[in-house]
Symmetry: C2
Subunit: 395 residues, 2 copies
């Protein structure tokens, strides 16, 4: 375990926190760009409440509305232009993970005269590495990606059909204003996808880390168990504010680095999903869920002991040995049952993806991330044939 | 769960990290004050290795050596004077928790012309609240207090026999350079006390929090289980670098806020111990261990369900009901057995404390911390009679 870690994001958490937005923003700037997604933020009244708080603090603002569910680089370009023409000096992201991701890249793009796509990892091309960004205040309206408290953004290029990411210290939001009340109107399917997203963020770390990180393992299991306990409660009653708070806190810590620190984990299931949703209009979590369990069964063959630990500590199964493959598989089956129980797809066919483009997906996945042997990083690494086998197993 | 949280400390963790000290310090200042404790830091060669790294980076330094195991306010005064006369602009704490605590208060005292004791909470007197401090680089040589990554310092006043604390955002070390290699020469008893300190930091939060914090509970259990698994390995073989790394990581996360966030927990066992070690030359963890289990038995009476959860998740006991008192008590007995097994005292008589001053201790404890009803904060709160009963039960 050798690592360097710092997460500077200030967290303001709790029901009613949105009312503090204006006061918080005024600490970091004088004119805001508010980045939002679709129309629900205005229909729900959340946008108006944010505006009341900003006006109370005397903060004028411009807008960048309509960021897509898989945020496009063209929206980033548009947002950065608005910042420049309107003279904004602080960015407010008010929405789900896509909105926050777009806001992050807008905040950095303001200081770069070239194409912002130069910042996003894509293949072997040389990248522009941002050195600074405008202060970002993230106000998540969905418990899902945890983007409000980390330094990563995922952006899609609608021309090249590549969906990829940037991670940079300057992209940590200065403040995450996390108000579970904003999530009570999230519909059932999106609530379930958020729970799925949270859990798979954790399992990616858990199964792809170096091992020998017992505290991080326990933390990961804690978040999974909590999401599995409180997710169904939020689904049963969307107005259960305690359930909403627990799953939003779970989503945040799932990806703010506390579980990842020191684990040196990669995220193969995410790379696969990024390619699928770059080609198809698929919700991120649905894409993850459709391939994740097949990935687990593939990975269990080479690292049974971690899947046995998962089966034991998440589902209380009792293994016959530390690498009891039956126990490992039983744990994965149980996990798949849970995913189904909250309404998440567990196959590609359920999300309307067939085998026509498998070869293209495999190429694109390895374009996104490959090690020096040409394989997809992860534990185990996957070659092109492994990826094709996984896709077929997910049909 | 409503809270605000930010821990800005940059963590550099791993065997060999000490060699980066000079490079790191040069990012924050030009001349350092090195704060150290007793002579072991020089005998072990750690001090010389730190000096080599500083010289390599061209960083001159002054020294404040000899900080006491329960650091005294007079050492803080001495260190601040050295900073002023030598013109230091960055503070290096190289030692255990006491050394780091003293360094923190020195860093703030430099900017205050009055008596630094004005910064430490003591009774109802008005305090000086520091607004800034010199940058602090903490290099722990012991896995115990976690002071390297939090904003708290505990200081003793040798004249008034009061031991109390300060917490302030300006006291977060800028960097914690955590090198488990520095702890391989820590003797068995201090290693055990460090494990005890770590675990009781966690149990204080776990048993005195608001409840309804399932993720924080799981995190806390994860740190306890890891310290109980790896502590005995470090005791069995002090040179086991993996065991040293695990218990040092456990000590850090036990008190860097990740487990405390949102729990609104107080620390009654610490208040009791602070009074004991202000009157007697007792190691912090030994004082904690001597009264902690009696406190647990006292608290279990009003919050059995949390102690049942502890018994269940730490020791695998199976309760008959959520408030099964037999199960709760069995968990506490098992925990006491563990403390004994690593050589920690479980009674006041073992650390040479009799009942002569119980009345004075009770007064001093309530002088340190009392709520508006005059009781010691905690769950449950304790009145003067409760404290005396607890002390008698700990004999």
């Amino acid at each position: 375990m050798n690592f360097e870690f710092q997460n500077p994001t200030r967290l303001i958490f709790g029901a009613g926190s949105l009312s503090r937005l204006g006061e918080v923003v005024s600490e970091y700037g004088q004119k805001a760009l508010i980045v939002t997604g679709g129309g629900s933020i205005k229909r729900s009244g959340i946008f108006d409440r944010a505006v009341v708080s900003l006006k109370g603090a005397g903060i004028p603002f411009a807008q960048c509305a309509g960021v897509e569910p898989n945020p496009r680089i063209s929206s980033v370009v548009r947002g950065a232009e608005t910042v420049r023409t309107e003279g904004c000096d602080v960015i407010i992201a008010l929405g789900g993970g896509s909105t926050i991701d777009a806001a992050k890249v807008i905040a950095a793009a303001v200081f770069y005269d070239g194409d912002p796509w130069d910042m996003i990892r894509h293949g072997d091309e040389k990248l522009y590495v941002p050195l600074k960004a405008l202060p970002i205040i993230a106000v998540p309206t969905l418990a899902a990606t945890g983007s409000e408290a980390n330094s990563t953004a995922v952006i899609s290029n609608e021309e090249t059909l590549i969906k990829s990411s940037i991670s940079n210290n300057c992209l940590y939001p200065r403040v995450a204003v996390v108000d579970p009340e904003l999530t009570v109107s999230v519909p059932k399917d999106q609530t379930a996808y958020g729970v799925c997203d949270t859990i798979i963020h954790v399992t990616e770390t858990y199964f792809n880390g170096i091992g020998g990180t017992p505290i991080q393992d326990r933390f990961a299991e804690g978040v999974i168990l909590t999401a599995m306990e409180w997710g169904p409660k939020a689904l049963a009653d969307g107005t259960d504010i305690e359930a909403r708070a627990q799953i939003q806190w779970a989503a945040l810590v799932a990806l703010n680095g506390w579980l990842q620190v020191g684990t040196d984990s990669s995220r193969p299931v995410h790379k696969i999903e990024h390619t699928l949703s770059a080609h198809h209009d698929v919700t991120h979590a649905a894409g993850l869920s459709a391939v994740n369990q097949s990935w687990m069964r593939f990975a269990a063959k080479t690292r049974p002991e971690r899947f046995v630990q998962f089966a034991q500590r998440i589902f209380g199964l009792i293994p016959k040995s530390p690498d009891d493959m039956d126990c490992a598989m039983e744990g994965i089956d149980r996990f798949e049952e849970f995913m189904k129980s909250i309404g998440c797809p567990t196959s590609l066919s359920e999300i309307g993806i067939g085998d026509e483009l498998f070869s293209r997906y495999a190429d694109d996945i390895l374009f996104l991330a490959k090690d020096r042997y040409g394989n997809l990083p992860g534990r185990p690494t996957m070659n092109r044939d492994d990826i094709l086998e996984l896709l077929r197993a997910s049909l």
